[in-house]
């Protein structure tokens, strides 16, 4: 049973390593999907916002992770 739990945990870990990055990514895509559904955002702008948002999320996450890892040393 613990082996199955370990496998499930590891499969979850394939997608979620740092929870805040995964949550940010889901929030960004969810917000963009809602904006597209409500016709508040044109397709080209949605593409631009997606790429810019992803890079911003990753940059912020890396900065925070680097600080945390540096403190731990």
């Amino acid at each position: 049973m613990s082996a199955i739990a370990a496998i499930v945990r590891e499969i979850w870990g394939l997608f979620v390593d740092d929870g805040s990055l995964a949550a940010g990514c889901l929030a960004l895509t969810g917000a963009l999907a809602a904006a597209r559904y409500a016709d508040l955002l044109s397709p080209p702008l949605a593409g631009l916002a997606l790429v810019a948002g992803l890079l911003a999320l990753l940059a912020e996450n890396l900065r925070r992770s680097a600080r945390r890892l540096k403190r731990r040393r």
Binding site: A3, A6, I7, E10, I11, L14, F15, V16, D17, D18, L21, A22, C25, L26, T29, L32, A33, R36, P43, P44, A46, G47, L50, V51, L54, L55, L57, L58, A59, N61, L62, R63, S65, A66, R67, L69, K70, R71
Partner: protein, 244 residues
Amino acid sequence: MSNWAQAAPALSAAFLGGFVECVEAFTIVLAAASVRGWRVALTGAGAGVAALAALVATLGPLFTRIPLHALQGVVGVMLLLFGLRWLRKAILRAAGFIALHDETRAFARESEALRAHGQGADFVAGLAAFKGVLLEGVEVVFIVLAVGAGDGLLGPASLGALAAGLLVVALGASLRRPLSRVPENTMKLAVGVMLSAFGAFWTGEGLGVVWPGDDLAIPALAALFLAFAALASRALPRLAQTSA
């Protein structure tokens, strides 16, 4: 029939991702073999391959039933989660914040853990080989499905992963030691870049974005993620210094 410009990113992403995962699975199987013998290790690995085949046979047909638009959106978001995770780790490794992955060390750690088991050691070693093959294999299957399913490129993607698997098995069978000279960290960065590019592309398609150049936007997005990774890995040590 897809042309080379369309197929190349899917094939290369699946090859690189498959190669890295197969190298890691091989290290675990080799550790199990070195502690409890090849019979135990290959039984576990064979069971892992069988479980993986059953998983693909069960889930594969489901993919064909999902409407393409929904599939692109769902696969895109999953690829983003998966790809950004790889990219984040690769950048932190390149910037020196986490240790580089080393197959020799991984082999030593795995072997030591397996030696610690007295009773039932054969079962534990077999289970380790099973788990290693299954889990690394699930990643390969996901990469193949994700980069191939959205645009009818399952053939080239499967071919890339199959070539990677065969190459690792051939190298492993001839060397019989961890494949530590493989530039795994660089390959992981490349996989992170490719998967993130595919993820952004499919998520965009799911949002109704018409990318300039259609499929050629994938290499362009990959170039953007690569440039970001290069910049971030250089700037990160300084940023951590100033904001600490």
